[in-house]
């Protein structure tokens, strides 16, 4: 299969449509994936990514259209397709068996695929080595961290070393270090074994690591092409850097729906240093598990304070303690001048809280939801009546108060949820992952809303696992394994990290795989970022010259070589690694 001519597409989707009870989840989607490509399907929750992947994996019949994988029609010969692919379904290690150990899980998948004994041993050893799971062979899968579960799921999916790898949102909610490891593994398989990867993601920055992407919105592809080309076509930003995929996505969406693309939210004027939240040595234990470990920080009035960390880092637990839903095991804290854990019900009057996922009642109408919140917070009827139209306009739902909340698009629903959280005019609003899975346009609108609230003097504390959203906050706290790794303004933190580990050299070449293999022995820190190679360096001038030399000597073409600043993800990784060394 590796010898197949590159011109022949390995995966071909032609005009695929899939409807669930009349409403289409996927509509007229066509694309091709060539051998050795990393192809990303990028889109928000509900865009139809999983549906498409399931069709191509032969586990879901399309309503119309056809698709081929490795020359087999997915509807007619699904079993032939299944023997040729490795498929990792959505959800972090949800396909693992929690009571089975790491080794037993891998063995089960080997048996299921009937991998011959010697090949199995070889693959198992290799996969365990590159995922660094060897020390945990006997640990039950249920007791692994999120990142380790994802790696084990990857081991299980790849145990027969398939040439075609399907990954459905493989890194959602995974910590950045595990995510980086994940990409090292994927790139190795692609570069060294010529594997083809078809993956879905809702992270815009992650999709930049794919060679080619298709942007999926409401079941349709709104743009597709080589990642670098799409970014170049969309132009450059004010600093002359190529557009992010988020920008590409938003412009493509704006083309589809006449609406003008909003500018990125800009952070407003810095607030006065008047602390409204102060936390000292906050600790929360659940049995032996320390969810929050000695956390201290301050949040000022009118500030947008970001809480950045992967799933399971302790973000939600901190917010629950601050809102009085959970009592801390130890430590002290003040919210709006009131002691947490003591003045519980008084605190709540000053707070708005929007919980992770959906906090509205889907079978109530928009207006009914708003009224319900008002009553729960004890608002007087005239006040509530006056506030209702304000909230409706805030959520862009003027005149639509009778619609069922469950029928609203995710982005609109989240705005409505925010509206409900600020209905009683709280001083402080807690937003727990408010933009998870929301499309980038709605996300951008949501951030505009947050900024305008902050400008009115409302203090906002927001948690997120989107690294790129951190830019929108005035100050950030990095949280990992329940501990704070750093607190500060985003740019400040980024510069600190840059001072310590240097900048990136970004190398692009049509022969990026070969270039990568050539450079790696000399620069072990080099990694593939889509069709580009990233290399962190403290001496950009000197290393640039070296890179040029190595590439020339190998007789390989070089397209670009530029220095680029550290990303927020690099910054995050720098600080949490520092924290891990300290422990």
């Amino acid at each position: 299969m590796a010898a197949a001519p590159v011109t022949e597409p390995l995966i071909e989707a032609h005009d695929l449509t899939r409807s669930y009870r009349q409403s289409p989840a996927v509509q007229g989607v066509s694309f091709t994936i060539a051998v050795g490509e990393v192809f990303g399907l990028l889109g928000p929750d509900g865009a139809g990514k999983s549906t498409l992947m399931q069709i191509l994996a032969g586990v879901l019949l399309p309503t119309s259209g056809r698709a081929q994988v490795a020359g087999y029609d997915v509807a007619a010969e699904p079993e032939a397709v299944k023997t040729r692919i490795g498929y990792m379904p959505q959800g972090l290690g949800l396909n693992l068996y929690d009571t089975l150990s790491v080794a037993e899980n891998i063995d089960f998948f080997g048996d299921l695929r009937e991998v011959p004994a010697e090949v199995f041993q070889e693959n198992k050893t290799e996969l365990l080595r590159i995922t660094r799971l060897e020390p945990f062979l006997d640990r039950p899968a249920g007791q692994l961290s999120g990142g380790m579960r994802q790696k084990l799921a990857l081991c299980c999916t790849l145990i027969h070393l398939p040439q075609i790898i399907f990954l459905d949102e493989p890194t959602t909610g995974v910590d950045p270090i595990s995510r980086r490891d994940f990409w090292l593994i994927i790139n190795r398989l692609v570069v060294e074994r010529g594997a083809t990867v078809f993956m879905t993601t809702s992270y815009m920055d992650e999709a930049e690591r794919c060679h080619r992407v298709a942007l999926l919105h409401k079941g349709r592809i709104i743009a597709q092409g080589p990642t670098a080309t799409l970014q170049a076509e969309a132009g450059c930003d004010a600093q002359g850097r190529p557009c992010t995929l988020e920008e590409v996505f938003i412009r493509a969406m704006a083309r589809e729906s006449v609406a003008a693309a909003p500018e990125p939210a800009t952070t407003c004027a810095l607030p006065k240093p008047e602390p409204v939240i102060r936390v000292e040595n906050l600790t929360k234990k659940f049995g032996a598990f320390v969810a929050v470990d000695q956390v201290s920080f301050e949040v000022y009035k009118g500030e947008i304070f970001g809480f950045l960390g992967p799933n399971g880092a302790g973000k939600t637990t901190v917010i629950k303690i601050l809102t009085g839903i959970l009592a801390p095991t130890s430590g002290r804290g003040c919210v709006a001048g009131l002691q947490i854990g003591r003045d519980g019900s008084h605190i709540k009057v000053h707070l708005g809280y929007m919980s992770q996922k959906f906090s509205l009642y889907r079978d109530l109408s928009v207006a009914e939801n708003i009224r319900l919140y008002g009553r729960v917070y004890g608002m007087a009827r005239p006040d509530l009546n006056a506030r209702l139209p304000e909230i409706l306009s805030l959520a862009d739902l003027e005149g639509q108060g009778d619609r069922l909340a469950g029928d609203l698009p995710l982005g609109v629903r989240q705005r409505l949820a925010l509206g409900c959280a600020i209905l009683h005019r709280p001083d402080i609003v807690f937003l727990d992952e408010p933009t998870s899975g929301v499309d980038p346009l709605a996300r951008r609108k949501f951030w505009h809303l947050i900024c305008s609230l902050a400008a009115q003097g409302v203090t906002i504390m927001v948690s997120t696992h989107y690294m790129d959203e951190a830019q929108n906050c005035q100050r950030l706290a990095f949280i990992h394994h329940g501990r704070l790794a750093a607190v500060g303004a985003p740019e400040e933190l980024r510069l600190q990290a840059q001072e310590a580990i240097g900048q990136h050299l970004e190398i692009s070449s049509p022969e990026f795989g070969q270039v990568f293999l050539t450079l790696r022995p000399h620069f072990p820190q080099a990694f593939l970022h889509g069709s580009r190679i990233h290399l962190s360096t403290r001496e950009p001038e000197q290393d640039s010259d070296k890179v040029r030399q190595f590439i020339r000597r190998a007789g390989l073409p070089l397209e670009h070589l530029v220095t680029s600043p550290l990303t927020m993800e690099d910054t995050f990784i720098y600080f949490i690694q520092g924290q891990e060394h300290a422990v």
């Binding site: 994996a57 586990v59 019949l61 699904p78 299944k82 379904p89 068996y97 037993e104 299921l112």
Partner: protein, 373 residues
Amino acid sequence: MLFSRRLRAVAQKEIKEIVRDKLYLSLAFGVPLLLYLLFGFGLTLDADNIPFAVIDQNRSPQSRALVDRLVNSKYFTIKHSLDDYRPLQEGLLDGHIRLGLIIPPNFDRALFSGQPSEIQALIDGAFPDRAAAILSYLDIITREFNHDLALPGYRPAGPVIQVEGRAWFNPDLASKNFIVPGLIATNLFFYPALLASIAVVREKESGSIFNIYCSPIRPWEYLLGKLLPYWGIGFLNFFLLALLAHYVYHIPFRGSFLFLTLATLLYVGVTTSLGLLMSILFKTQVAAMLITTVITLIPAFIYSGFFISVPSMGSEAQVMAHLLPVTYYMEIVRGAYLKGLGVSQYWPNLLILLGFFAAFFGLGLRRLKKRVG
């Protein structure tokens, strides 16, 4: 190798998961035992030691002799000897007596004068079967009393012919000999089905079913691999129940244990595959377990012939009875225990059970698509 590597992998994985889930494992064996003991001890249809009170207004040797007969039988236990109606009424109301016997002042006079003598029996009729039992015991005792009196001037008014009945197969007419084997049939109908009803749907809920959908495993390999561990648990449960029947309930066993074992193996296969079918049909564990319980537990007791023999049911109920595998196995297990009957009598039942197995497993196979939705 009898089974393919994939099938064995599924079965081994399932066994590991079951064994490591301590709660599930203890429920797998604990619940049928508990039900067996609860029903076995509690659900006897015999009425023994019925508490009663007497108001003896006659206070003659004859009236005392009648009361003594009741007291000396194993069926009645005297609680009170009263003078007044009120406590008797209260006793019947709060249930600490089930029978109130009132002997009128002229009881002995009437006997001696050759007149029919009447006594009043107030019976707690809340549970009709028990009331009927009390009445018939009372009837037998008074009849014997009449017979033995042979008082001068008294002629027995009853029939001259006496039926000397002998109950075959269950000479003591002990209902436990009938109930306990019946419980083996009902327990092994509903419980293996319930245990297996989560087998597939649990994987649907967790998402691990995708491993099956996306792998080259054949549906029959997966289903059989899933079935075998639960089949095994059900079969082990049978031995547990049979041991208890012997050592705790002392139920005599007259047939061939080998035959019963093999028939049970088939029967448990039927009930396990019924549960597995439910597991394939439903999308949530709750739905699968609830429906399985409803379609197995209740019919197992009502229509299987457990209480009422099938031929004495109404015609609709008979149709229902013949649609249930438990009815056919009920005959086998009771025949083996009580009558010593075996394959020569019950081979049609075995064939029907085999048919059920093929139908349930086949239907499961048809409905298990290696696809989403």
